[in-house]
């Protein structure tokens, strides 16, 4: 039972409060999903539950936040540790020990749980979270999904009544995300734990939640999913489709939507989806031939053949560890293939002098701030002009186009994740590299920012760039990509036009396609277009 009683919170260096006069109650045993655009105060709300706000962040908190009667006013986060389990966004940075078992026991050690009880609870949590096989493993050798499950398990051992998670699936591939969400679902059902989670990828979590808290401009609206989703500006494709088709009650899960779908199917029967116009000028930008890459005796890429054409947006998919990142790094010349050839416009990127690489191939890393070097956006843009050898002001003009709200004197690290991604993209695009590589560009981005990024990428592709993005975001792929390449175990297992590849795959199919399979509809936009024609 979590109570927010007239809560207003303001960070000490900001004039406007992030949360304003919030009154909210989250009943016991509920799985509540917290929604809101970037900067709407989601993270602040979550951290106020266990007292990290304001004990850790500073700032001024008025009103009372209490969890099962314990107020955060007179309890430090450590004094709520037995009541509230908090899982931060990046589980790896939050790990204190180095082995799975020790990490699971850490909270209990701090709380002074008797050794015999600890031993038993660790065994229980290993089973509950499906970690038995991994108990002796060092944490850094686990995959993203396994790490996330350890992070959840490690707070569960303290037997908290409330579990708070900040974007638990943002870094995970669709399969691993399913695993994590399924375990959360089980916790709520079997143990009656109250779960509060924030997540940008609604399409993954919507079906599991009991209630939704929508944060807008420091205020909160709450209700059941089907009720709140009627009007919510933030919604997954299944909701958009339901609203478009006028389904009532609004289906939240794929299963419900599929049951409501027959009339829509009938309506769409004589239409075929509009697919992205692949540019007619098939000018090859990059080609990989029989590419092998290995660390020592472990091969990561095994005989990859791939061609990338101008005007194409190619999505590179596959589970964590399938070799996607390595492939991007080989393409950009950061890593040397052990066999095979990489040619970008006929040139090997590794043969280019340092200053010239950017004019052939640009790489936007997963952590965009790795690219930044200046202390303000203004100087960053100037430095970028020099690096890209383009006219002064080019980068700034690009940024003004993509993110007009960003001010010159902001520190690049203070930008939101979406803005950082756009700034990094501007720095790279300023040099006009024919081949553009992006590693997980939508991690942590909300829907509006994602849409923005999508528009920018489509624009770049139309102006003749070839874009390759490694991503786990199936909805993004459905909307943007002209071609999908799926990797598994260092090999390319599927390579073809987007609709053909993703509608075939249970793991990588977007929601629309899951609802309307076997027809090859993949986005709500396509359906809206078809319905307009139907009406006309």
């Amino acid at each position: 039972m979590i109570h927010f009683d007239n809560v207003t919170f303001r960070y000490s260096n900001e004039a406007e409060p992030v949360l304003q006069n919030l009154n909210q109650e989250i009943p016991a045993g509920e799985l509540a999903l917290l929604l809101g655009a970037t900067g709407s105060g989601k993270t602040t709300f979550l951290r106020a539950i266990n007292g990290l706000v304001p004990h850790f962040t500073g700032g001024h908190l008025a009103g009372v936040v209490s969890v099962y009667g314990r107020s955060t006013q007179d309890h430090q986060p450590r004094e709520l540790a037995d009541l509230v389990g908090f899982v931060p966004q990046d589980p790896v940075s939050g790990f204190v020990t180095d082995l799975v078992e020790d990490e699971l026991a850490y909270s209990m050690e701090c709380l002074g749980v008797a050794p015999s009880v600890m031993r038993r609870r660790v065994e229980e949590i290993l089973d509950l979270m499906g970690l038995t096989q991994l108990r002796t493993r060092p944490l850094h050798t686990l995959s993203g999904g396994q790490q996330q499950r350890v992070a959840i398990g490690s707070v569960l051992t303290a037997q908290p009544l409330v579990l708070v998670l900040d974007e638990p699936t943002s870094a995970l591939d669709p399969g691993a995300a399913e695993d994590v969400l399924a375990s959360l679902h089980r916790l709520v059902h079997d143990l009656g734990i109250t779960v509060v989670l924030a997540e940008h990828r609604l399409e993954r979590v919507m079906q599991y939640c009991d209630s939704i808290l929508l944060l807008e401009d420091g205020e909160i609206r709450s209700g059941s999913p089907s009720e709140l989703m009627q009007t919510s500006p933030i919604a997954p494709p299944v909701i958009h489709l339901g609203r478009l088709a006028g389904w009532d009650p609004l289906p939240i899960s794929i299963r419900d939507a599929r049951r409501a779908a027959p009339p829509l199917r009938a309506l769409l029967a004589d239409h075929s989806p509009v697919v992205h116009a692949v540019s007619t000028q098939t000018q090859q930008i990059a080609s990989l031939r029989k590419l092998h890459f290995a660390y020592g005796n472990q091969s990561v890429l095994r005989g990859v053949d791939l061609d990338l054409d101008a005007g194409e947006i190619t999505a590179l998919m596959g589970r964590n560890g399938a070799g996607k990142s390595t492939l991007l790094r080989v393409l950009v010349g950061l890593k040397e293939p052990s066999k095979g050839s990489v040619r970008i416009n006929g040139v090997d990127p590794r043969a280019l002098p340092t200053g010239d690489v950017l004019r052939h191939v640009g790489f936007v890393p997963q952590e965009p701030h790795d690219l930044f070097e200046a202390l303000s956006v203004g100087t960053e843009c100037k430095a970028s002009d020099v690096d890209a050898r383009c006219a002064p002001g080019t980068t700034r003009a690009l940024l003004a186009l993509m993110a007009p709200e960003v001010a010159d004197n902001t520190h690049p690290r203070d930008l939101s994740e979406g803005q950082q991604m756009l700034l990094a993209l501007c720095i790279i695009v300023a040099a006009k590299p024919p081949l553009l590589l992006l590693d997980e560009p939508t991690r942590g981005l909300d829907y509006p920012t994602k849409k923005k990024l999508g528009e920018v990428l489509v624009g770049l592709a139309q102006s003749g760039h070839s874009i390759l993005l490694a991503t786990h975001d199936v909805e993004l792929v459905a909307e943007l990509a002209t071609r999908v390449v799926i990797m598994g175990d260092g090999e390319i297992v599927a390579n073809g036009p987007t609709p053909a590849v993703i509608t075939d795959s249970p793991m990588f199919a977007p929601q629309v396609s899951k609802i309307l399979a076997p027809e090859r509809w993949i986005t709500v936009e396509q359906i809206a277009h078809a319905l307009e024609q139907e009406l006309a």
Partner: protein
């Protein structure tokens, strides 16, 4: 023997004993044997964990110590011996800087002496490095007294940050290069400092938050009386220790009395620590056991030290070697015995658990990228 972690204290006892033994001699043969035993034990019992990889670094450090020591001797060292190898251009220094020299004649004896001395320091470093790679730092943390727990945590966290920092620097350097930046040279290196530091700071804040939300630093409330007793104990034990040390050094009272005062101070200090531990609520999950292998490993170390100390007290010719051309180092029988004993942990200790038995290769690789 079932694979398990040996108690970290056993490894440290073994290693520190070897180090203490090494400090007793300049005989290069004995020192080389000690290094060999460290290499043999590490090679057979090194875990496949991050800390297991640090031994090569310590070997390198040893080589560096010897090189630097010899170089210094070459340039600055005081001349001794008569076998002149080369004549370097020298500067004659004023009389009051007697004993110091820059350049001048380099003698074989002086170089040999420097080499022996460097080898001794290198041996100590390598032997300590062996324990560092054999014993998990976090498991060592479990064994330290509760009162020091917080201090220990900060040290361990700092240690785990170093590999992360190098990984960050490498990644950012790669990105910079793609941007067309020059990442070579001092300037290129310096430009990495700020982003790497910013990343480390971000990470440490997340870690601190995570630790706090998981109950780190919780302790029982102490009563006012209890707190006053604690403060009194700390002050008394410190004062007694200082007075005792002073008395011992100045010999103003009998050594017996001085020892008594010092001893009482230390004892009270122990009580203070024990009391401080009481206010902590912390418990330990699966503490390491101290069984036969632990006794064997630490006994091996203690025996080696014992042999060296006995040799030292007998003023063994083999221990201290005068660096002269015709004075070849000898290897006494007891040296070989010590070497054999020092190597026994390679057999008497259990194998460390295989951490990566079921990691698929691809994932391990992804972690490294």
């Amino acid at each position: 023997m079932i694979a398990r972690w040996l108690h970290p204290c056993a490894w440290w006892l073994w290693s520190l004993s070897l180090a203490a033994g090494a400090s007793q001699t300049t005989n290069p043969l004995l020192l080389a044997l000690l290094i060999c035993s460290a290499v043999i034990v590490v090679a057979s019992r090194k875990p496949q964990a991050p800390w297991g990889k640090s031994f090569n670094f310590f070997l390198l450090l040893g080589a560096m110590i010897i090189t630097i020591r010899v170089l210094f001797q070459l340039i600055f060292g005081a001349g001794m011996g008569t076998t002149i190898l080369i004549e370097l251009p020298g500067i004659s220094l004023p009389d009051w800087m007697n004993g110091l020299r820059i350049g001048g004649s380099v003698t074989l004896e002086a170089l040999l002496g420097a080499f022996y001395d460097g080898l001794r320091i290198a041996t100590i470093a390598i032997v300590v490095g062996a324990a560092n790679s054999l014993a998990s730092p976090t498991r060592l943390l479990k064994a330290i007294p509760t009162a020091f727990y917080e201090l220990g945590v900060s040290i361990v966290v700092a240690l785990t940050f170093i590999p992360q920092l190098t990984a960050d620097a490498e990644r950012i350097r790669g990105m910079r290069r793609l941007r067309g930046k020059n990442t070579k040279g001092v300037r290129g290196f310096a430009s990495l400092g700020l982003p790497v530091l910013a990343g480390a700071l971000d990470r440490s804040i997340i870690l601190a938050e995570s630790m706090d939300s998981r109950g780190y630093g919780r302790h029982r409330a102490e009563t006012t009386v209890g707190r006053r007793i604690s403060i009194g104990l700390v002050l008394t034990s410190l004062s007694l220790a200082i007075i005792g040390t002073y008395a011992l050094l100045t010999a103003s009272v009998s050594a017996m009395t001085a020892f008594l005062i010092l001893g009482t101070g230390v004892l009270l200090g122990g009580v203070t620590l024990w009391r401080a531990g009481l206010t902590r609520v912390r418990t330990v999950y699966r503490p390491d056991t101290w069984a036969l292998p632990e006794y064997l490993v630490s006994a091996a170390g203690v025996c080696v030290l014992g042999i060296f100390l006995i040799a030292h007290s007998q003023v063994s010719q083999a221990l201290v070697l005068t660096p002269e051309l015709n004075n070849w180092p000898v290897l006494p029988l007891w040296g070989l015995i010590a070497f054999t004993v020092a190597c026994t942990p390679a057999l008497s200790s259990p194998r460390p658990p295989d951490l990566n038995s079921d990691v698929d290769a691809e994932l391990r690789v992804e972690v490294r990228t």
